[in-house]
Amino acid sequence: MDALRRTLIKGAGATGAIAAAMAAGVLKPSQVLAAEYNRTAFEAKDVAGALKGVGAGSTTESKDIVIRAPDIAENGAVVPVDVVSNIPNTISLAVLVDKNPAPLTSAFDFANGAVAEMALRVKMGQTSMVEAIAKTSDGKYFIAKKEVKVTVGGCGG
């Protein structure tokens, strides 16, 4: 479980008694998760706030993070996004949509063989940059971006 300890979703979150309990191995990470949702990061209204919320004070752009998403989304309610980090020792990935009311969509930690890769579907209110953040085990943060255009609807097939 050690590998899952200092990762993105804790960010600036795990503090005080819970952090102490976790460090002492009292709480399983799953219990910490349930107890401590990273509200700061998920409720941040802009990218800077969301990044700060996950602990990513500074980020380095990287071509080794690959974002696969449509150039134009068929429907902003369901935008397929696939993120792969080819940066060695990536332990966490987060996906942000810049122009959403709250940019952070999700953050995942990987350990025990899980590959730093994930597929998900996100909601996009409007055309926006989609950003992927990777955190490595030495505490560095990397970032990649891709623009996704959101179009107006039709009549539903």
């Binding site: 449509p70 068929e74 397929p80 597929a119 179009t151 609807g153 539903g156």
Partner: protein
């Protein structure tokens, strides 16, 4: 149940007379030629949508509704505590679902009528399980977090025809008649906008905003409309069947909406489905 059949017959009579009025479909040969040329160069937006179609179809939430439908199909339910699996004949024998959906609408001797998939399931729920037809018709379409049982059931039934060829029968006189009625309803112009189904779906190359509209009078167009239903609609994240799709076309034409599982819808589905005969149905889909 008697009441229900009475209502269906009355509605069928209505749609027959409805069809009689439909003698003059719109004819625009020049526009047709132009549209055909336009369709040969699908634009970049459509091409981009297509690239992610596979991704969306591979993990389709429609499966969640199929699972729900399976539960409902197999469970003993209703006032009579009977399961559909042990009572309902979808045209291939009681409880047999393999290939049933791609052969519907078809003629059913027990009711001496042609029925589409959803109408047949509704019929079985009333006749064997003892549900009330009025109750099934109360809120027949999905909205918000509500999914009617019939939607899940229809999705489950349709899932048993994945990758099978559409083969809607046209042997019985009533099957032929139903197709003809559907064809006439398709061309019937009326309402405040003087619309017919064929106004949007009778020519190649038409579109609404970013969406291409299939020409249902051709096999290529008909399969595009048959395909993907029942469909998980990304807008709103709800599951819809062809019953909803057809009713919504009536709404968009500013027509009064047909009753739930109306014979008029069966007729339209016969027209569209038979036109798509011979093509492969991919199973429950995902829609914009």
């Amino acid at each position: 149940m008697k009441k229900r059949i009475g209502a269906l017959v009355a509605a069928a009579a209505m749609s027959a007379s409805f069809a009689v009025l439909a003698q003059q479909p719109a004819k625009k040969p020049a526009a047709k030629a132009q549209a055909k040329a336009a369709q040969k160069a699908p634009d970049a937006t459509t091409a981009d949508f297509e690239k992610f179609r596979d991704v969306l179809e591979e993990d389709n939430p429609a499966e969640l509704f199929e699972a729900k439908g399976e539960e409902l199909w197999k469970a003993k339910r209703g006032p009579n505590n009977v399961s559909l699996a042990e009572s309902c004949d979808m045209g291939r024998g009681v409880g047999v679902l393999k290939g049933a959906y791609v052969q519907l609408p078809r003629y059913f001797a027990d009711v001496d009528a042609v029925m589409d998939a959803e109408r047949r399931i509704a019929h079985c729920m009333v006749k064997y399980q003892g549900f009330k037809a009025e109750d099934l018709a109360k809120k027949p379409f999905s909205s918000g977090n509500y999914t009617p049982e019939l939607v899940s059931l229809t999705t489950y039934v349709a899932g048993h025809s994945r990758k099978m060829k559409i083969a809607i029968p046209q042997k019985h006189p009533k099957e032929k008649e139903t197709y003809q009625i559907g064809k006439e309803i398709f061309a019937y112009r009326a309402g405040p906008w003087d619309f017919s189904c064929s106004t949007c779906h009778g020519e190649d190359g038409k579109r609404i905003r970013t969406q291409n509209l299939p020409n249902l009078s051709t096999p290529e167009g008909a399969i595009r409309a048959f395909q993907g239903w029942p469909g998980y609609r990304m807008t709103g994240g709800v599951m819809h069947t062809l019953q909803w799709r057809m009713n919504d076309c009536f709404r968009q034409q500013r027509f009064p909406e047909p009753n739930y599982v109306s014979p008029s819808i069966t007729a339209l589905l016969s027209y569209m489905g038979v036109n798509a005969n011979g093509q492969v149905y991919k199973g429950p889909g995902i829609k914009r």
